[in-house]
């Protein structure tokens, strides 16, 4: 059985006797033999020289070479464009830094000049004071007015005044702690947009601690101060409570209570006594506390609107703003508040 199978597979052409097919197969065999490579030379029959296939392959190779060259040229161009972009960007950054440094230098020089002028005015005023009597609260008021709103000069001066006259200056010292940062120029505390990079770190550290630093003095003012100081202290504390995010480095509107339950609770506990200390229905409440808190709450989250931790609110604290004002008259109190807000907005612009 196996032998028969082997015989059948040996030449399957046996079954084509006298047929045209057999003759065709024999011709094919002859052709194959004639075209068979010379095995003694062991050269593979791959030569396509002069054939259509060679032409086709050459064309293919040429196309591939062209595509590769095009791709390489595109890559080179992209690299060049990227290099040019980096160079332009580097140049732009450099120019920006140079420009910022120049602006900063200019601003610093201008501030130094103004501060030097205020210092000279302060010294001149001190020279007018009688040497044989101690400096009183009114004189400190005047000195603070001279140097306002430059916290570089105000902070030490208000601190000195508070040490001498804690009852009279507690609310203003509290405001200084709430609205300025030690070691940071005054203008930098106005709003973050005015900051240079290195000032951001200082401000971030300072701003978060402002309520903790200020509230002991504001509470003291609420407990021991004049009716005006009590109302101012309560307005500032309630304003801080109404704008918790303004004490965060990154201001996130609408997240105050949800994000800071402990901070809010801490503030609530300290603001709560104001319900009796500066009660609703008084002229100071109606004319100042209530509108301040409402405005702060309405605009918090926006750097450029009213914040209690901005030195620009100083006109509300300045004694000169309150001279001759009837504190029992809500409309008169409101006029002072509106004046302070106007000055604040001018400062922002």
């Amino acid at each position: 059985m196996l032998a028969a199978a082997a015989s059948a597979s040996a030449d399957t052409r046996e079954g084509y006797q006298d047929s045209t097919t057999r003759q065709q197969i024999e011709r094919m065999d002859e052709n194959n033999r004639a075209n068979a490579p010379d095995s003694s030379l062991n050269i593979p029959s791959t030569s396509v020289e002069g054939t259509a296939l060679q032409g086709w392959m050459n064309n293919l190779q040429a196309e591939e070479d062209a595509a590769r060259a095009k791709k390489a040229a595109e890559a080179r161009q992209q690299q060049e464009e990227l290099r040019d972009w980096f160079a332009a960007e580097r140049q732009r950054m450099y120019e920006r830094e140079v420009s910022m440094a120049a602006t900063r230098q200019h601003e610093n020089a201008r501030d130094r000049q103004i501060i030097a002028g205020r210092q000279a005015q302060l010294a001149a005023y001190i020279d007018t004071l009688p040497r044989d009597t101690p400096i009183g609260p009114a004189a400190y008021d005047r000195m603070i007015d001279i140097v306002a709103p430059y916290s570089e000069l105000m902070r030490p001066l208000v601190k000195l005044a508070y040490r001498e006259f804690p009852r009279e200056f507690a609310v203003r010292y509290g405001f200084m702690q709430l609205s300025t940062c030690d070691g940071l120029r005054t203008q930098a505390t106005a709003y973050p947009g005015t900051l240079y990079d290195d000032e951001n770190v200082l401000r971030d550290k300072c701003v978060m601690a402002q309520p903790s630093a200020a509230f002991p003095y504001l509470i003291e003012a609420r407990q021991t101060g004049s009716p005006l100081d009590v109302a101012l202290a309560c307005a500032l504390m309630a304003g801080a409570r109404g704008s918790v995010p303004s004490f965060d480095p990154g201001i996130g509107p609408h997240l105050g209570d949800a994000l800071h339950p402990r901070v809010s609770a801490w503030l609530d506990k300290r603001v709560q006594p104001c319900v009796t200390a500066a009660p609703a229905g008084t002229a100071l409440y109606a004319g100042m506390v209530e509108p301040l808190v409402r405005q702060v709450e309405r605009t918090y989250g926006n750097d450029r609107n009213l914040r209690v931790n901005s030195h620009l609110l100083w006109p509300l604290l300045a004694r000169t703003s309150w001279e001759g004002v009837d504190l029992q008259d809500a409309a008169a109190v409101r006029r002072v508040f509106d004046y302070a807000v106007t000055r604040y907005e001018e400062g922002i612009r």
Binding site: S212, G250, A258, L259, R262
Partner: protein, 136 residues
Amino acid sequence: MRRVLSLFVIANMFLPATTLAGDGLKPGMIPIGEHRRLAAEHSTREDVLELLGPPADEVDVKAAKLLKKIDAKNRSGIEPCLPAGASVYHLWKYQMANVSDGGFEYDSKRFGDPYVYIAFREDGRVCVAFSEVADF
């Protein structure tokens, strides 16, 4: 730091209010950077408890060991806080936490210092609060 805190704020937007009401924090854990709410020389122990909650631990650390192990930037702050005649710092210790996947946990790969230590003055006010890698 600003970027980190911004991410922290954004992450919090997606959390339910109940988690943020303080329950999400285990005792002794504080959100990153919250120790900066304290004002040196002003904040009292009561303030610290109200703002940060009770500490995870209270540790006594020998001054020499502490000063050797802590970051240089923290040394000048803590050095004046050693009570006269004492050789040991008594510190309140907190664990930093960041909001992640709806819970508070600390990712030390993303944020540097995992611990916060607070030293008090003899009058009970905060002398210094600082974050630190060293675990005491």
